[in-house]
Amino acid sequence: MNEFDELMSALGTAGGDQATLADPAIAHLVVVGNRIVSSRSLPGLEVAADETEGGVRMMIRLREGTHLTTPVHTCFGVVHREGEQQINIEVVLERNSSARFIAHCLFPKAERVRHIMDAHIEIGEGASMGYQERHYHGPFGGIEVIPKATVRVGSGGRYTSDFTLTDGRVGSLAIDYDVEAAEDAVVELTARVYGHGDDEIRIQERVVLDGKNARGIIKTRIAVEDDALAEVTGITEGNAAGARGHVDCMEIIRDRAVAKAIPIVSVTNSQAKVTHEAAIGSVDKHQLETLMAHGLAPEEAVDVIVKGMLG
């Protein structure tokens, strides 16, 4: 099996659909290691990508007023046991454009793999970007993933991101997202991660509400078991009149796992408001007993609760 086929096999395991890549109405980019193996663009969407020594450098631009009706699929991965992949992305959504991106990050055999992503995203006035990132790291836990993103959302723009890593091992994950929101902009950051073994999860997300009436929410859902570790830092700053922010972190721990939540809220304008809530602990007893009263064994009940929380 060649590298592309191996990656597609992993895509299927991770719940993706290879058929989307064959659809001429759907834009895509597939990168294995540092090789661009497949790509397709659409009118109004410009994709330029170069192979570098350790990965790929990409520039994606969506032209003003372009609205993509189908999501752009990107697929990144390393199919060998060892390797490194560095993805540098620059994304520009021009005024009043909109698109959704679905990124599949696949490392099915990772024993000593490093994946670094460095993204700079500019969302123009009135533009909207939805970004879903789905990871599958295989069963070995030998992977280090470092996604970093800086995002600027223009007036009336919208940015939603949803990071999911709930199947297989995590390995070592260090998310670092930094988003600035201008007037009337909306930001929603969601991360869901399920850690096992000696996985280490570190998430830092920062939303700066600099524009009048800007709104932001950081929502994190984590479950950790065995000896896994999770540390979640959610930072929201309200710096303008009418800015509204919220940090919402929920972590379930089992066995010897350890979880920390560090919400940091800061307000520099008396007409701004930022709130936070965090809940860390074992599975809620009342939820557990309710499900067991339906006849579910304890492990089945925990499974329902954790899967529900992780979406």
């Binding site: 007993e289 067991m292 009263a293 529900g308």
Partner: protein, 238 residues
């Protein structure tokens, strides 16, 4: 032999006696109302029967369908045919109403059970059983889940609290449906009109059952704060 027999149950917490030699029988297929003031041990009794964590009697037997169940866990009791609708039902992030109503060994379709509790399936099946539901909606969904399970014994802990008065008919319809399905119900309530739908009633006071019998008589005594055990002193705290 009754379906459920509670024999001389005592239960203390931190030296305080909650149940003091409580004895009660619920027959198969019977709706049995349990009346009592706040703090008399009604919800504690429900948790003891269901087997919730930390609710083990100090002494006495809980016998269900001829089986001593004191040491069975909740799900083992559920598999024997006991289920419970809590006074404050739990909420579940990410769990849809449809999935919640099909958990466990359910027999009925979620659509039909939702209609029985006055909720339109098309509006609720895709919703989450989370904080987006009002207290009343959540309680109705809890009742629907009990209907779907068709347990041999359903413990309903104040199903009327938090639901608007107009929905009394919905609760009575649930009781009738459970009765028709052959389920026994232990119905914990404060409301006369709900208790009136029972076949038999008991009054609890001071951690004991002080009378059992005709629903109208027990309800009237409770309402008039007549109690043969405490002569109104405990019962009058309502």
């Amino acid at each position: 032999m009754s379906l459920l027999e509670l024999r001389d149950i005592t239960y203390t917490v931190s030296g305080r006696t909650i149940l003091a030699g409580l004895t009660l029988a619920v027959e198969a297929g019977e709706v049995h109302a349990l009346l009592g003031s706040n703090g008399t041990g009604k919800s504690t009794l429900a948790s003891l029967i269901m087997g919730c964590q930390g609710y083990q009697p100090d002494s006495g037997d809980i016998v269900f369908a001829d089986t001593l169940i004191n040491h069975l866990k909740i799900y083992e009791r559920a598999l024997l045919g006991i289920s419970m609708a809590w006074q404050e039902p739990a909420r579940f992030e990410g769990l849809r109403v449809r999935d919640y109503l099909t958990l466990g060994r359910v027999t009925d379709q979620p659509e039909s059970t939702l209609r029985l509790v006055g909720l339109e399936p098309s509006r609720y099946l895709s919703r989450m059983v989370d904080r987006s539901l009002s207290g009343g909606e959540r309680k109705r969904i809890e009742l629907a889940s009990i209907l779907a399970l068709r347990p041999k014994l359903a413990i309903l802990d104040e199903p009327d609290s938090g639901i608007d008065l107009l929905s009394t008919d919905d609760i009575i319809r649930v009781l009738d449906h459970l009765r028709c399905a052959g389920s026994a119900v232990l119905l914990i309530t404060h409301r006369d009109e709900i208790a009136a739908a029972a076949d038999q009633a008991s009054q609890i006071c001071g951690g004991r059952i002080v009378c059992t019998g005709n629903v109208a008589q027990v309800t009237a005594d409770f309402k008039n704060k007549k109690c043969i055990s405490c002569d109104g002193e405990v019962c009058s705290d309502e």
